[in-house]
Structures are given as C-alpha cells and as structure tokens.
Symmetry: C2
Subunit: 326 residues, 2 copies
DNA sequence: TGTAATTAGGTAAACGTTTACCTAAAGATT
DNA sequence: AATCTTTAGGTAAACGTTTACCTAATTACA
C-alpha cells in the first residue's frame, strides 16, 4: 500500500494525496480531502517513513551508544534519553558497546549509514578521539567524555566535586582513614574522581596514601575485591566508592568479614542508582541526576541538529543523599 | 557523498560502484575494484542504508516495545534482544510504554512506518488483541503475552509452574501460612502466577484464603504495602512474591517491623534480577532466563522474517535459586 | 577465419515520497 | 468582453540505491 495506490483508488494524483497527508492542503477541496482520508483509513495505509527520509534527508531517529543497558546507571540514562527523544518525535536506536572500542566504532558506522539525525554516546572507557574523526552527524557526549577538538555537545556532572563532597562527608562523620575504590581507566571521568578524593584529603591535611586506593573498573566485583585487598593491610574507617556498584560490592565484602557498616567502616557511593536505597544498609551516596542527564542530552542534541547556537556544555548538579551507610 | 559521486570521481558507472560495494564483483577487473575502493576510503563514503532499504524493502532494523528499560527485568531482556539482533546484523529501536496502551499503539505505528522488519513486544498489562489487528510486520510476544489468533511468535516461561515451585519450596522449608503478593492486572501472566500459588496450596491440602493475598502490580511499592496489609491481620511465616521487585519491597517492610527474614517469615521471589543476590538477605527466587528470553525472541523473530516455518511458541525453563531469604 | 563464449562494464527503471512549478476552470475586476 | 486572481489539482524531477538486461571488446575454439 503506497501513496500512489491510494491516489489511484481515489482517482486523484499522488501529489494531492501527499499534500493532504502532510497538512499542506490549503488548495484542496474538503470533498477530496475527506475522500482521500477515508480511503487511507479503510486501507490501513501507513506512510513509508523510509521514502520520506530519502527525500527529506532526515530520519527522525537518534542513536544511543552506551556500554550496557543492564547496568542500572545506563538504563536510567537510556530512559531519560528515550523519553526526551519521544517528546520531540524521534525514535531511538539502542547500542551496547560492552566497553569495547571496536563495537563502538562499528555502531557509529551503522548509525551513520542508517542516517540517524544525531548520536548520543556514553563513551567506552579508554575511547579516544579517533572514533569521532570522520563522523558527520551531530554528537553529544553523555557522562563518559572523550577529549576532542570537534564541536561536540557535552552533558556531565562535576565529577571532581562529587568525590570531593563524598570524602568531605565521610570526614564530617568522623572518618580519619579513608580509602578509595574506583576505576583506573584512562578517561576524564575517572581522573576527575580520583582528583576530588585527593583534594578533599589535602584540604583536611590528611596524607594521600596509595595503599588506601584500589582502582579497577566500575563494577560490583571491583568493590568486593577492593575491600578485601585494602582491609587486610589497613585499618580503614571510611571508603569512598567511585560509584554505587562498587559500594554494593564493598558492603558485601565487609559483611562477610563481619565488619559493621557504618559503625566500623562508613561507605559512600556515587550515582544513587535505583536500588541504592534498598540495600542493607541503605546507601549514602552522591546523587547524580541520571535521568535528567539523558533528558538534557537529547535537548542539546536537537538544538545542535536544528543549528540553534546553544552552549555545547552543560554541567548538572549533584547532591549528597545521606542514608544509613555513613 | 553518494555512490554517484564516487562513480563520477572514479570515472565508472554507478552500477559498477554498487556491484563492487556489494561484493557482486565477479565481472569487475581488479584494477577498477581497487580504484573504486580507494576512492570510497579516501572520501569516507558511507552507504546510505535508507536508499538501500527503499529499494530492497527491508531495513535490518527491529523494534522492541517494553514497559520500562529502567526496570531491571526489562533492561536484561533488552540486552538479550540487542545482543542477538546485533549478531544477525540488525539494529534495535527501543520503545518504553510505561504500561500505557496509547503509547504502545503509537509506537507500533511509528515502527511500522519506519518499516522495521519485525517487532518484539513485552505487552502492556491489560493490552489486548486490537493492538495487533492491522499490524503487518512479524511480531514476537516476549514474556508479557496477549491473547490473539494472529500467528505471532511467543517466548515465555511456565508462569504457573514458577509460583507452584516457589510455594512448594516454601512448604518444604516448613511454612504453613503462606501469603501471596503479586499483580492483579488482567493478563495471562498474572493469572497463571496466581493459579500456581493456589495449585501448590491445594496439592498440600492447605486452604486458599483470600486474606493472605494482596494483588496490585509488579513494583517494589506493592511488596511494601502488601506486607503491611497482610501482616497486621495474619500470622504469616512465608510469602511468595510475584516478582523480585515485590520481594524487595516486602523485605524492606518486614525489616522495618523488626520481623526477621527468614527466621520469622520466609520470602521467595520470581525472576532473579541482577541485584537479587546483593540484597540482605540475598533473595531466594525462581530464576527466569531473562537474557536468554530476549535472545530467543530475536532468533524466533528472524525465523519468522525469513519465513522459515518454525514453532511459534517457545517455553524456556525456570529454576529455583536458593539463597538466604528462605 | 568465423562464431560462440567470456569478460568488463553500462543503461535505465524502480522503490515511495516531496515539492517546485505548471494548468485549467471559475470568479472577480475593469 | 477582456484580463487578472483565485481555486483545485496535476506533472515530473529528485532523493540514493539495486538489478535485470544490454553491449562492446576480447578470447577460445572448431
């Protein structure tokens, strides 16, 4: 069923049908308008967006590239992105990279070939500029940044301030020996988080001690292993975790060693993913506006697509959420 | 940059470039092949999949309609779907319905207009056949079923057997007064789960007592409220929860009332979502092969797209995972 | 040496839209 | 009565591919 089939049945020209369907019908009599619309309805005609895209050179589709939707952080991000995209009438193609640069590159290629109008990327850790080199579509980097001179949009949080605030909170709660478990991947985000930890220590005249730091990746396992390694040599009374997943692993390990949280060791995470409040103890964390970041990413991307000259960087606010783990 | 631009630069015809790019190059000399490929490379040409789709009448794109990616169950499902789709060279358009029939209908329309090759739906609770009526693309119903006579694919689990097994486990653990907290939405899934609970009771000559049942929806809140309502009038020693989210809420409510899990009340969930093992206590649950269901849904859908005559129904196995809550 | 087969590539229609521009008839204006 | 406007709609090119079919030159063969 195509527009030409409809035109044929109605006994009008293709152009007429197209105009009616697109509301460009100032010069169409109400009679033919009704007739055509009726036929469209009866035949269950659904316009071919592919053909339209070919002609109009846009697809009303966006691409979202993230490491893994199964990760609560990214599923919330994805939800924000999809909601906003939908609000603007865009569809969303979802891509999971598993932190694999090759997959990231491949997906970017596919998305471009499918002519999406824009792409939102939460970059693979370690991803570098090369990936973006010959990409023609507008891009917004979401949370996980990439250093580049290309005019890309950026939605982020002040990561350094997040860990800084987290550690300050621990100190305020009386901790004097604070560990740090986080990711060691070479990207802005991880670097900034480590920096915040160190800054807060310095601010309080505490010594930065490498022995109190365990860096691997943003996973539950890292938290679990991190605690095991750190706790056997040091007497920590507080741990700042690079994200909530790490905190979950850390708490699990502490419990198994019969170390009480928060009495013996206080734990703080970063993100405030959906389950953090259901943990035992409920996790104190630096809440990131995850959903909002996704939402804002689309807003920015659409500004870029429509070439409105907006600010290409938006930093959203984080906030301490105190629960029972500190 | 188009195929015709490449052809022009190379001094060959459009057809030649197309053939080379598609490997139909038996009749192309190695010299021109190289020349064309070089130009393609240098110009950073990316084929226009839109134009290709228009001609070939497929898009290599699938649609996924689920209630909410932020729900751990669906994010795992989505991941399975995306992985499998990717394996077959398909992209995935993600749609969240929020259990809203209108949104579901709208998305189905959009997906058809974008000419996806197939759609996978975890239907809105209460969704009915009307939705599928004039849908021309192959459809696979994933987990959340819809009663219909259309020849749709189905991937599911034996829901009745899930709750049956769950309750049997509770009984084996010594429970004699078993509550049931689940969803009351009118769809196969919820009905089957309730039926399994009742059957297990009957099997053990226990009376089915409506007072021990609280039905609302598959959310944490339902578990929390359900426990509050049930526990004040009855002396339960076991609760079968319709899914893990409900179990999370139930455990939280019990803790607040200083009722010990599992000593005072044993809790079992269904699903085994990613966090269930990190709860306190770690949740005993009926593990569903969530990721695999997503994966299988795509396999089935692609069989349907390619008109291989496969079995349209696939029931996957569940499994009891005993942890500390029972 | 004449013909058949092979090699290397070209032509043009088709996919389903949109849209700039055209046209014919009717009504309005002088 | 002749011209201008407006109304209602039509024509055909274009978007970027794919592909059935064509062609010209070369090679193989009897």
């Amino acid at each position: 069923m195509s527009i030409s089939r409809i035109a044929e049945i109605a006994g009008v020209s293709i152009a007429t049908v197209s105009k009616i369907l697109n509301g460009k019908d100032q010069a169409i009599s109400e009679a033919t308008r009704q007739k055509v619309l009726e036929i469209v309805e009866k035949e269950g005609y659904i316009p071919n967006a592919i053909a339209k895209s070919l002609k109009k050179n846009y697809t009303k589709t966006l691409g979202l590239i993230i490491p893994d939707v199964m990760n609560l952080f990214f599923s919330e991000l994805a939800r924000g992105v999809e909601d906003s995209a939908d609000k603007f009438g865009y569809s969303l193609i979802l891509c999971n990279t598993d932190n694999n640069t090759e997959k990231e590159k491949k997906y970017l290629q596919v998305l471009q070939s499918k002519r999406v109008d824009g792409v939102i990327i939460s970059a693979v850790e370690n991803s570098d500029e090369a990936i973006l080199r010959n990409c023609m579509t507008p891009i917004v980097l979401l949370d996980r940044d990439i250093k580049t001179h290309k005019p890309v949009g950026r939605i982020k949080v002040d990561n350094e301030k997040c860990t800084y605030d987290a550690v300050m909170h621990l100190i305020k709660k009386g901790c004097t020996n604070i560990g740090f478990i986080s990711s060691n991947t070479i990207n802005t985000l991880s670097e900034e988080r480590l920096k915040g930890y160190i800054k807060a220590l310095e601010k309080n005249k505490m010594l930065y001690n490498e022995e109190l730091v365990y860096l691997k990746d943003y996973s539950v396992e890292t938290g679990y292993i991190g605690v095991s390694k750190l706790i056997e040599k040091n007497k920590l009374d507080g741990i700042c975790c690079g994200n909530d997943l790490i905190a979950i692993g850390a708490i699990k390990a502490l419990k198994e060693k019969n170390i009480h949280v928060p009495n013996d060791v206080k734990i703080i995470g970063i993100d405030d993913i959906l389950i953090s409040s259901y943990l035992d103890p409920p996790l104190t964390t630096i809440k990131q506006p995850i959903y909002d970041m996704g939402f804002e990413a689309v807003n920015l991307l659409i500004d870029m697509i429509q070439k409105r000259g907006t600010d290409l960087l938006k930093v959203l606010d984080h906030k301490l959420v105190e629960r029972m783990s500190t």
